[in-house]
Symmetry: C2
Subunit: 234 residues, 2 copies
Amino acid sequence: MRTHELVLAWIEKQLSDGHLVLGGRLPAERALAEKLEVSRTSVREAIRILEAMGVVRAGVGSGKDAGTIVIAEPGTALGSALRLHVATQHLPVADIVQTRILLESWAVSRARADAPELLEAGRLLDRMDASTAVDDFLALDVAFHLALAEAAGNAVVSTIMGSLREAIEGYAAALTLNLPDWDSTADRLRREHRAILAAVNHHDGGRAAELVAAHIEGYYREAGLGQDPAETTA
Amino acid sequence: MRTHELVLAWIEKQLSDGHLVLGGRLPAERALAEKLEVSRTSVREAIRILEAMGVVRAGVGSGKDAGTIVIAEPGTALGSALRLHVATQHLPVADIVQTRILLESWAVSRARADAPELLEAGRLLDRMDASTAVDDFLALDVAFHLALAEAAGNAVVSTIMGSLREAIEGYAAALTLNLPDWDSTADRLRREHRAILAAVNHHDGGRAAELVAAHIEGYYREAGLGQDPAETTA
């Protein structure tokens, strides 16, 4: 095991033993290096990796408030990893889209009609009605889909779902900006969102799943990233 | 953007532009540092992160064959990230199990009966018949489930599925080793695997999906990591 991996293993053990908890602070770089008898460079490399994994936020500032804090942002980490592997062309964009559809259909079919996230989803749709800037609209769109997914109560599904979207966000956004008629696309998306939320609120999980699948497929197809069934099943 | 992030962004751009491809070699640390006008430390930090993401394998040895190679091992990276977030208790084990069931049920219901991975799956079951050591058996078990998932032809689903399993492998393995009667557990798992593969081979995706869901639930339940429906839907 290389020295920075020793540091990683030690920190992971501290986390799983509960000695280091969410919001807690890692020992200072120098102290950790001395304790584990490794170089400060190795400690810093381990911390960079944990940052990339969304497990810590490295210290900024100095004095009493400085330090590296334990956080829980797996979505960003998974999104970056998936995005990098889409870039190497190891993971096809069509497979990402298909997986997103699978997870999101499942989530809306399991969403609990009394989940507070559904109220939030409704408020997001009201804000989208008033939103005209593309960037704004897309940010609200992400938040709406995430709220829907969270209403199913599975943190792993909503995390992965968010990261799949993030992994191909750059591709979709670039193409979305080139659409000939953004206003009519936005109107269609608004109507589809309302219909999905209505189905969930009426306890019709099957219908909600169908609608969300068609909605996501349509979005990526229009953005030029649609899945080709022949390709994804070949 | 911090300097090591500049290096990451540059490498990601090289990958997505196709200037750097699978099996290709990154510029040497010193050359990259000079080109991007950053320190060698920053280059090394970026490479450590890419290693952790399963995007490169850092150079070993020296001379003509040394260097950092582009690879594609997203499963390991996603597995480590998920495992770390299970350790911080941000992602519940029950949600990991439920997601694994979702993805694997989908995969067997979509597995193509003529996929070469199914022949491989059958060969793995023959080897499991002859396997008595727990470690051996479990390694073949992982390979069997992965072969089944790959038969559905979606690289993202099979990658995530493998990483979910890896994320809780440590917990499951520790408990599996404590089982009172490993031999009878192994016999049950063997029978269940045969039944799942038979359903897939007989084009009965619905049946295969039911069987695989019951099989995975039973496995984790016996290992003491079963999902509690009240907990996962609460």
